[in-house]
Amino acid sequence: MSSTGVGVELPAGEAPPPPPRDSAFRRALLPLSFLGPALLLLFVWVVYPMVATMWRSLFNDRGTEFVWLDNYEQIFTDERLQTALKNNALWVLIVPAAVTAVGLVFAVLTERIVWSTAFKISVFMPLAISLFAVGVIWRIMYQQDPDRGAINAGLAAIQGQFGAEGVLSQASPSTDDLTGSIEQGFELDRTVQPGGVALLGLTAIRVPEIPEDAVQAVKPEPLQGGITGVVWRDFKAGGGTPGEVEQGELGLPGVTVELRDSAGDTIDETKAETNGTFAFDQVEDGEYHIAVASTTFAEPFEGVNWLGDKLITPAIMFAFIWVQAGFAMVITAAGLASIPRDTLEAARTDGASEWQVFRRITIPLLAPVLTVVFVTQIIGVLKLFDLILSIAPGSTQDEAATLAFVQWQVSFSGQNRFGLGSAIATFILILFIPFLIVNVRRFRADTS
């Protein structure tokens, strides 16, 4: 830096040299040399890719043909992209508001509870996990099979506590003689008279559900003035002959058998013995139906289909809110701390209720902070991609997709549709602009 500063004044006795002619250039050089590297990187990594993407979006997928706005037209006509647009709208409408509200509630609550630091930490913790890992965690929690998904396992435990008790969860009739369903019970088509024997063969019984005390099934002898029968697992290795009680086939103890009159009303019921036999004594003459009662079957808990096409978007939204609530809470709590206490005290002294204080004093004073949270969340939601990739299984990815996700999908998941991908990227950029303007304006207002 010898040409500037003190060095200039040193030569004594001589006339001061004329100011260098290129001084304007030189004066610009210094800031440029500082800004240069940043500008260069900004150009290489931001401006150039942005412009190139916009330019690329006007070409076909192979980049060989100029197609004007055809790719943009696809955004509004393609079925998958329409779902994505709808999903994006839902995300913007629901999630930022929800995150802000939850953050506010948590922030206010933490001011009042004893273990507030512990609570704050546990709410803030998810933010320390990468969004992709969050997705993996929730994907497992949301699994439909209660043996795999924690949420459905919890629901299954609750249902098991209050649900119907039964010895079997599923079965189907072994022959066409039995009709009905698990809900109605399986009824024998032909009628039975006293002295008759009813054969109730069931198959498709899960091996672990075969009662432990079951023994070889036996076809009972007819009973004078009564109806007997057997209910058994009509299956042996290789299938066996349906409808016949064979060696190696087990009785189904505990199964409830109903005696129904010709009108279909149940008049008696009994339970099968270990060899599957049952008997109704002293039955009046007449025609009767015999049925396996529906109470035999415990309603199996199938699990809520969180990852199915109906619930997938709410499920992902919940995971996102779970992560972002901590961020919203911390920012809001900081805002709360800076609210002048005397204003609140003054309101309370004037007789305002807690709700009125919250509604009329706290919220208006917090408004700028809440806006920050809200706008940050909108931006986060618009570019959401990783959570969808990691939570939605392949079969419901289309139902869960957002624009950013489809942009990745069409360009990089093996489809190589770079024209459409660039168009979607440009479209997302356009969606961002209003929020960027809001943010920049506020930043200016803050600094001035």
């Binding site: 699994q143 091996v207 299956f235 489809q415």
Partner: protein
């Protein structure tokens, strides 16, 4: 000013030079095949050649062992092996730069066609007789582009296998079925015994395309399979209807583990492990030879007593037909050393080196199957090598927008409504038409 400036500039130049060096780091790989002798057999060849493939880790070591075998036979040739996660991308760049390796293994024949049509590959017809000895015509056809032989399938994958829970089959008194009717009947018997017959990894679309391809190749035959692959017949063709109808019989909600909605959330590894859980959630899983590795790594099931495998059942007397994948060896530079390596890789001896180490199936029917480390690999590998008809996985040969996207999601839709065959056919045809048009 000047001094700091200079240092800064020097730093910048240094960084740039470093980056440039990183990009062009392949220069020293250039093959120089010096003193060579006649091509006739028996004469020693010499030189340096480079080979590029996808194999790393244990696979990389096994392949290195194969190359070491070549080195023993040709002590004057130095072979340098390099692996790349995406060989096609690396090779495209290398070909553009005029500096490809001598030999490379490509994971899909589509890349081979691409390079051959760009004129980057050298034909390997000098080895044709040798390849014909060991490989069935299907493999030669797959390695041929525009009438010239360019590719040698060194490693294969058999996707026409069904893996089953041996105990569940025994409890139900079911034997591995040989044809489709017996297969469906066995499914009913398994169901009656209380075990769901099939496990479907419906969250991954490719498990469904594999199932469809296996059925279609058998029910419609290899000619139609080729035509459908190239979209020369539409997806609304009656042959597709027949195959989807059969597939629908498998995909009924009562036949698949957890029912339809659970199957749609089951990924491939889970679809394997749940067959070997206690109690099993299903009796069998319909996927390729790589299932064996998942069972070995993630379950405690033992071969034979716990798990076993049978060939995908025949449909309409289709005979020994295998659908699968494979890695194809291609030659970018023609020189005696490279030729010698191609000829070496076509021999059963070369394949046996890797086969003995496991995790490998050779399409070469002259490979001594006793070298495979276990009975099940021996079974799947010999089915692969002895198949009268082999077809490459159809979805890998189609444009990505269809083969690895629309086909996946539409077959997942089909899993949701397996009785609605015609609706799905129409959707498949619409998607295929637009994907084949724009590619």
């Amino acid at each position: 000013m000047t001094k700091q400036r200079f240092i800064l500039l020097a730093l910048l130049v240094g960084v740039l030079a470093f980056l440039a060096a990183g990009c062009g780091g392949d220069d020293d790989e250039a093959a120089d095949t010096g003193g060579t002798t006649e091509e006739g057999g028996g004469e020693a060849v010499s030189g340096n050649i480079s080979v590029l493939a996808v194999w790393t880790g244990a696979e990389g070591e096994s392949f290195q062992a194969v190359l070491d075998g070549f080195k023993e036979e040709n002590p004057d040739v130095t072979v340098s092996y390099k692996s790349a996660a995406e060989p096609a991308t690396v090779l495209s760049t290398a070909v553009e730069g005029g500096n490809p390796p001598d030999i490379a293994a490509l994971p899909q024949p589509g890349f081979m066609t691409d390079f051959a049509q760009r004129g980057a590959l050298k034909p390997i017809d000098f080895a044709e007789d040798k390849i014909k000895e060991g490989f069935s015509d299907s493999w030669l056809d797959l390695g041929t582009v525009d009438g010239k032989l360019y590719g040698l399938f060194f490693k294969g994958a058999n996707k026409s296998t069904v893996w089953y829970n041996a105990a569940a089959f025994e409890d139900a008194g079911v034997e591995p079925p040989a044809d489709w009717d017996a297969f469906l009947e066995a499914g009913d018997t398994l169901k009656a015994s209380g075990v769901t017959p099939y496990s479907i990894g419906g969250a991954d679309g490719w498990t469904l395309t594999d199932l469809f391809e296996n059925i279609y190749l058998r029910s419609a035959g290899p000619e139609k399979y080729d035509q459908l692959t190239k979209h020369e017949i539409p997806w609304t063709d009656p042959s597709v209807n027949e195959a989807l109808t059969e597939m629908g019989k498998v995909l009924q909600s009562g036949n698949i583990a957890g029912g339809t909605s659970s199957a749609l959330q089951t990924d491939f590894p889970t679809s394997v492990t749940q067959v070997f859980a206690d109690p099993p959630k299903a009796a069998q899983v319909l996927e390729g030879d790589f299932v064996g590795g998942v069972i070995a790594d993630e379950t405690t099931a033992e071969p034979d007593t716990g798990f076993n495998v049978y060939a995908f059942p025949e449909i309409n007397d289709s005979g020994p037909v295998v659908m699968g994948g494979g890695d194809v060896m291609v030659m970018f530079k023609d020189n005696p050393a490279a030729r010698a390596l191609i000829e070496y890789l076509a021999t059963p001896e070369a394949a046996e080196i890797w086969a003995a180490k496991g995790g490998f199936s050779s399409p070469n029917k002259n490979v001594d199957t006793s070298v495979y480390p276990d009975e099940l690999t021996k079974k799947t590998a010999s089915e692969l090598a002895n198949a009268e008809v082999f077809r490459f996985d159809m979805s890998d040969l189609m444009p990505g927008a269809f083969g690895s996207d629309a086909l996946f999601t539409l077959l997942q839709d089909f899993l949701k409504t397996p009785d609605d065959v015609e609706a799905i056919q129409k959707k498949l045809e619409t998607a295929a038409a637009s994907a084949f048009k724009s590619s």
